[in-house]
Amino acid sequence: MSVTTVERGPAAEPAAAASEPSYLTGENTVASWLLTRDHKRIALLFFASITFFFFIGGFAATLMRLNLATPEGLLQPAVYNRMFTMHGIIMVWFFLIPSIPTTFGNFFVPLMIGARDLAFPRVNLASWYVFNLSGLVVLFALVMGGADAGWTFYTPLSTSYANGYVFAAALAVFINGFSSIMTSLNFIVTIHRLRAPGMTWMRLPLFIWGIYAVSGVMLTATPVLAMDTFLLAVERFLGVGLFDPNHGGDPLLWQHMFWFYSHPAVYIMILPAMGVASEIIPCYARRPIFGYSGMTMALMAIAILSFFVWAHHMFVAGISIYSGVAFSLMTFFVAVPSAIKVFNWTVSLHKGSIIFDAPMLYALSFVLLFTLGGVTGLMLATLGIDVDVHGTYFVVAHFHYVMVGATVSAFFGALHYWWPKMTGRLYPEIWARFAAILTFVGFNLTFFPQFILGYLGMPRRSYTYSPEWQSWNLLSSAGASILAIAYILPLLYLGWSLLRGRKASANPWRATGLEWATRSPPPAHNFERTPVVALEPYCYDPERDTYVTQEGVPHAG
C-alpha cells in the first residue's frame, strides 16, 4: 500500500464548525443515539454493552470463587459447569475481544489520525447492532440455563453429550464474529485511506499500530471461527457427526480449527492493550517512547507469528510428537517480539520525569503482570512442563495474568487516560490511584495462588477439590472479593465525575497526539480545521519539561 497520505481539502465551512456543539450536546434524542453514525457515539454505545457483559461475566466469576472457597462447594455441579462456561464465553467474546477496539479504537482512531469519521460509519453502527444481537442470543442461552461444554466447546462433548444450550452459545459466538469482522475491516480501511496530511505510517501513534495489527488478525482469524462454529452448530443441530468419531469424524479437527482462531484471538486481546500502554507510558514519563520503529515491527511480528502456534494448546491431545515440537518452537519465537516490547517499555522510563497518576499506575501494572503472565506462558510452551500442567490451574493463572492482569488493567488505564477527552470531565485522582493499586493487589492475591495450585495438580473446571488445597483456594477467593471492589469503584467515582467532576481542558495531560488538539469533548466532526501533521508522536522533553504536539506546536511546561 502507498505510504503517501491522501490529500484532503480544507474542512467545509470553518466558521460554522467553530461553533459546532460537542458530539455529546448536539441533538440528543434517543433516536439520534441509536441511529447515530458518529464514531464517538457508537464508541459509547459499545462501552455500555461491554460494561454490561463485563459485570455479567464478573458475576459468574464471583459465584465460582464463592463455590471454590470450600472443597465441597456451594453450587450444584451442573450449575458450576455452566457458570465457568458462560464466564469464559462472555468474558472472551463479549467483553475482552471487543473491549479496547470497539470503545477506545472507535473513539480515537479517527481522532488520532486526524479524520472526521471512520471510513464506513453505517457498517460501524451495524457492528454494534450485530454485537447486541449476539449478546441477546448469549443471554438467552444463559437465562435458559447456560451451556456446559467449556468456552472451548471440545467435541464430541459439545456436540453429542452436553445438555445445555450449546447450540445457542455457539450461534452467539458465530454472530458475534460478524461484529468483529465489520469493526476490524473499518479500522484497516480507515487507517489506510483517511490519515490527515503529513500523518505518515511512521508517525502513527503506537495505539493506532496496535489497532491496525489487531484488525488484521481479526479479519483473517474470525472467519475461520465462524466456519468452525457453523459446522459445530450443524453437527449439534442435525447430528451428522462432523467431529464425532462414531461417524468417522475427527475430534481433533475441531480443536485445530478452534485454536487456529483462538490463539490469534489471545493476541487480539493483548495487542490493543500494548498500544494503550505505549500511549500512556511516554506521556507520564514525559519522554519519547524508546525504540518506536522496533515497537511497530514487534506488533506486526506478533500479529503474523500468532497464526503459526495454535497447536500449543494441544500438546497432550494426541497430535504427533513432531508437530508438538514444531509448534513449541514457533511459540518461543512469538515470545521474542513480546520480550522486545517489555524491555522497550521499561527503558522508556529511563531519564524520564515520571508522574504516577492513575493511568500510569495501570500501565505499569500492565507491564509487570504481562511479563509474569508471559514467562509462565513460556513455561507452558516448554513441552516437558506442559505435559504436567496442562489442564490445571496453572493454565488458568497464566491466562488470567495476561488477559485480566494485563489487558483489563490496560483497559482501565485507557479509560482514565481518555476519560477527560470523552466526557469533558476530570476524574478524582486520589480515588483513581487507590483503585489502581487495589486492582494490582487484589489481582495478585486472586491469581498467584492458582499457579501453585496448578503445579500441585489441581485440575481446572472442577467444582470440588481435595481438602488439602483449601487454603490456597480461600486466598484466591479472598483476593477475588478485593478485585471485585477494585472493579466496582471506578464505576462509582467515574459516574460521580460525569455530574460533578471538574471540567477538562482540551489537553489536561499535556500530551502530543492529535486527539488532544481538539476540544474536550470533541465537536461532532472532530476537528474545527483539518490538522496537518508535522512530527512523529511522543515529542516530550523531560529535561526542560516541554513537549511538541504532532502538529508541531511547541508548549512550555
Binding site: P77, D148, N246, G318, G324, E543
Partner: protein, 314 residues
C-alpha cells in the same frame, strides 16, 4: 530430594524427577527475568520520578544495539529451554514396550483398568515399583485425560483411537489419578488413585484378585465369537494375513505406505478396514464398527499382541 522447596508436589516417578529439573531451571530463568524487569522499573521510577534531581541529559539515542542485544539474549535462552523441553516430551511420549502393561478404558466418569492377567479394577491402579509400566488407553465417549500429578504425566484419551503413555514409579505409596480434560457433569470427581506396591506386594495383590482368565484369553473368546478366527485362523480358506507376530512390526500397505503395527493400528484394522488394505491381500475384511465395545477391542488387541509373544517364544 525436593522437600526443602515449599509447596512442592509429590515426586514419585523417574518421569517426575526429569520434569522437576526442567521446572526448577525454568523457574530460575523466569525469576531472573522478573527480578530484572522489576528492578529496572523500580530504579527508574524512583530515580526519575518527577521533581527528582537526577539529570535527564544525554538520553540513549535511537540505536538498534539494545533491541538486537536483548533479542539475541532472549532467543538464546528460549532455544535452550525449547530443546530441553522437547527432549523430555519426546522421551515421555514414546512409550517403550515396558515391563508391565495395563489397559485403561475411560468413560464418564470413571477409569476402568484391566491388567493383562485379567484382573480389573475401577478408579484404582495397582502397579509395582521400579518397573516401567506401559498404559494403553481408550475412551468410550468423550475426551478424557489421564493425569498422575506425582508422576508428572498426562495424556488425553481421545475417542476413536488408542493412546499410550508410560511411567516408572520409584516410590511406594498412594498417589492421585485425575481426569484433566473437561468431560461433563462429574468431571471433577473422575478421580482415582495409583497404588504403587513393592514387587512381592504386587504379586500378592494380583493373585488375590481371584481371576482365572487372562485378558488375552478373554480376547481369544471374543476373537472366536465374532468370527475373526474364520478368516485369520490357522485352517481358514480365506486369504487373510496371519496375525501371529504382527504386533510391533512394520506393515506394508497396498498404496505403498508403511505403518507400525501398534495398538492403535490393530484397533483401526478392526473398526476401519476399508480405509487401508494390507499389501498382497484382497480387501475382504468386514467393518466391525459399532459391534464391539472399547472393552472387547482392548481384549482383542491384547490377544493379538499375545500371539506375537508366543511366536517369538517358540
Amino acid at each position: 530430594m525436593y522437600h526443602w522447596i515449599p509447596f512442592w508436589p509429590d515426586t514419585a516417578a523417574v518421569n517426575a524427577i526429569v520434569v522437576n529439573n526442567l521446572y526448577i531451571a525454568e523457574l530460575g530463568v523466569s525469576g531472573l527475568i522478573m527480578v530484572t524487569v522489576v528492578a529496572m522499573m523500580l530504579t527508574f521510577c524512583i530515580r526519575y520520578r518527577k521533581g527528582s534531581a537526577a539529570s535527564r541529559a544525554d538520553r540513549v539515542q535511537k540505536t538498534w544495539h539494545f533491541e538486537i542485544g536483548w533479542t539475541i539474549a532472549t532467543l538464546g535462552a528460549f532455544l535452550v529451554l525449547f530443546v530441553w523441553g522437547a527432549a523430555i516430551y519426546i522421551w515421555l511420549y514414546q512409550a517403550p514396550r515396558g515391563d508391565e502393561e495395563v489397559y485403561v478404558v475411560a468413560k464418564r466418569w470413571m477409569w476402568k483398568i484391566e491388567h493383562p492377567g485379567g484382573q480389573s479394577e475401577i478408579d484404582a491402579l495397582h502397579v509395582p515399583v521400579n518397573k516401567t509400566i506401559r498404559v494403553v488407553m481408550a475412551s468410550e465417549d468423550v475426551i478424557h485425560s489421564f493425569f498422575v500429578p506425582a508422576f508428572r504425566i498426562k495424556r488425553d484419551v481421545v475417542p476413536g483411537t488408542l493412546e499410550t503413555i508410560w511411567f516408572k514409579a520409584d516410590k511406594i505409596g498412594v498417589f492421585k489419578l485425575e481426569c484433566a480434560q473437561f468431560c461433563g457433569l462429574q468431571h471433577a470427581t473422575m478421580q482415582g488413585e495409583v497404588d504403587v506396591l513393592s514387587g512381592p506386594d504386587y504379586a500378592r495383590w494380583l493373585t488375590e484378585q481371584g481371576v482365572h482368565e487372562s485378558l488375552a484369553e478373554q480376547g481369544e473368546a471374543v476373537f472366536r465369537a465374532h468370527g475373526c478366527s474364520g478368516c485369520h485362523g490357522n485352517n481358514s480358506t480365506v486369504h487373510a494375513p496371519p496375525l501371529a507376530g504382527l504386533y510391533g512390526t512394520y506393515v506394508h500397505m497396498q498404496d505403498g505406505s508403511v505403518r507400525l503395527a501398534d495398538e492403535a493400528y490393530i484397533r483401526d484394522c478392526i473398526l476401519n478396514p476399508r480405509s487401508f488394505t494390507v499389501a498382497g491381500y484382497p480387501p475382504l475384511m468386514p467393518d466391525f464398527a459399532g459391534q464391539l465395545g472399547e472393552d472387547d477391542l482392548l481384549k482383542l488387541v491384547a490377544y493379538i499382541k499375545s500371539l506375537g509373544k508366543q511366536e517369538s517364544a517358540q
